[in-house]
Symmetry: C2
Subunit: 321 residues, 2 copies
């Protein structure tokens, strides 16, 4: 019994489960563990810092012989960084948040699968147009960055599936267990991309206190906001916001985000609090599915558990009661 | 082959599909058609206008011999209205948006099933505490009214299921076809409550132009807003907002909602535009799943179609490929 889909066929992985390439937390060890567990591990390379890339891609390549991949932030990555990553022979390259057209040629030459993450129907149309091999439809309940005015996963995924035709679609946002993966497949997706859940694993690069906050956190404590990007001086374009757990500087600027750009005092106050240890070094990115995260297992075990639960859920539903 | 669940067992209906009791559009004819189709039709009685109640409940009771029910807005209904409805012998009574405790005794005496719709985990906990027979977990992608700061359906439903224990949970928000119902069941729900989709049916009480706008509308055109309640002088408490299609008065006040309360000019301008026929008589309430609404069938046929598609989706997923 296994949930094979157009995605598992295309990538040659046993389970339709993909690690979201979360910058900073999806390092080589986590990606390798997800791939060893039968999913597809994607290293979160962000804009592609060369030192980080070399270190983490060496780790992933030497810790699994299963397919793995790497994900970039399209708005900030360079062709150099993409080519640097391709030297490590990833099976797939995911581009999020922006038009990836300038980076596709070398990826295609390498034979890697092109995965494009989208947050709107227009972006999905663009992804189909440029010939994405796989499309990720990300809902606004996702942790970390996403569209400022996003869609919810449940109605967004089937709309993208209808548009994408034969191109396999992965559902992202709000999925943390076997029920969510089963629901994604029911919606017509060929798999699920999972982020927040994998932060609370032993292989994740997040600070153990952040992992514990995710285990303890509640969905209603998560807030999609642009505030924390501004006060920490992040390079993220303002059309993207991020869903995080609560934060003192979020409370301070709630409803007044438009007063923030260029506010040097707000920026300094954040740096001061960080230096004093009053706030964590980074916001804690978490999606609404944080309610469903209650432990911190190894990622390979977690993939197997999620896949098993998804299969059980679906088989139970079609059995006579 | 049929998708029987704890909900279909409890209510004695063939399909785990429930008509959302949309005030004004879910009248007796639509509720009766949904029940004849094998779902549970709920008449949308709002705050319980006696003349409307008598008319629509007479229609539903005389147009189906299958179980049907009625839904009220908890913040505005009276005990008189609830008792008036109970005289028509509904099989179920749904309460949305507020603490229904004051209204439960007569419903229980009548033998009707108590359904409570919730939008937050705290409300779900309250619903379990007061002994709701069925809980509806409504996500923010739903059309019409809901929590101002709501949750998305995909991660919210399993969190409510985990909390509700043996109490059957229905998923609401973002569901418009068989894939959505199948996903709801995969999430652990015992069925789905569907609104927007049923507005585009021949039995719906909405203006045909509104039904056409729903057929034509796109999910990204829907906006959760408090603006249209304020400018039309609605009695809805401000802690609830509604998701509607675009509207000229929404554009006018975007980002300036806090200037609206008590603004008599805004209110007069809306009334003037309504009188002149420049804007429709009512906002067009629509959820994000409007993307999936492409025709205007009869509601009984639609229930059968959705149920069939949900079953097919689930069976296909567990078949070897």
């Amino acid at each position: 019994m296994a949930l094979s889909t157009a995605f598992t066929d295309l990538l040659g992985v046993p389970h339709p489960i993909v690690l979201a390439p979360m910058g900073g937390s999806a390092g080589g060890a986590l990606a390798a563990a997800v791939s060893r567990g039968g999913g597809l591990g994607l290293v979160g390379a962000g804009t592609g810092d060369p030192g980080w890339l070399d270190r983490e891609l060496t780790i992933v390549a030497s810790n699994t012989d299963q397919p793995w991949g790497v994900g970039f932030l399209t708005w900030g990555v360079t062709l150099d960084a993409v080519e640097r990553a391709l030297a490590y022979r990833p099976r797939a390259v995911l581009f999020s948040f922006g038009d990836p057209s300038p980076f596709l040629a070398p990826v295609r030459r390498s034979g890697a699968t092109v995965i494009v993450q989208v947050t709107t129907i227009d972006e999905a149309r663009l992804a189909v147009g440029i010939g994405a091999d796989v499309i990720v439809a990300q809902g606004t309940e996702a942790g970390g960055h996403g569209a400022r005015h996003g869609r919810s996963t449940l109605p967004f995924v089937p709309a993208v599936v209808d548009l994408a035709g034969p191109v396999p679609v992965l559902a992202a946002g709000g999925i943390a267990d076997g029920r969510g993966v089963a629901a994604a497949l029911a919606l017509g997706a060929a798999g699920a991309l999972i982020g927040t859940r994998f932060q609370a694993t032993v292989e994740s690069l997040v600070d153990p206190r952040a992992a514990q906050a995710i285990v303890d956190g509640r969905g209603e404590d998560t807030v999609r906001n642009g505030v924390l990007d501004i006060v920490r001086g992040s390079a993220w374009p303002s059309r993207y916001t991020s869903r995080t757990l609560g934060h003192p500087h979020l409370d301070r600027w709630r409803g007044r985000e438009d007063e923030l750009p260029g506010n040097t005092e707000a920026r300094q106050s954040y740096e001061d609090d960080k230096a004093a240890g009053v706030i964590p070094a980074l916001p804690i990115w978490a999606g609404e599915a944080v309610d469903l995260v209650t432990d911190r297992p190894s990622a390979a075990e977690l993939v197997a558990r999620i896949a098993h639960d998804a299969e059980s859920v679906l088989h139970r539903l079609v059995q006579p009661r």
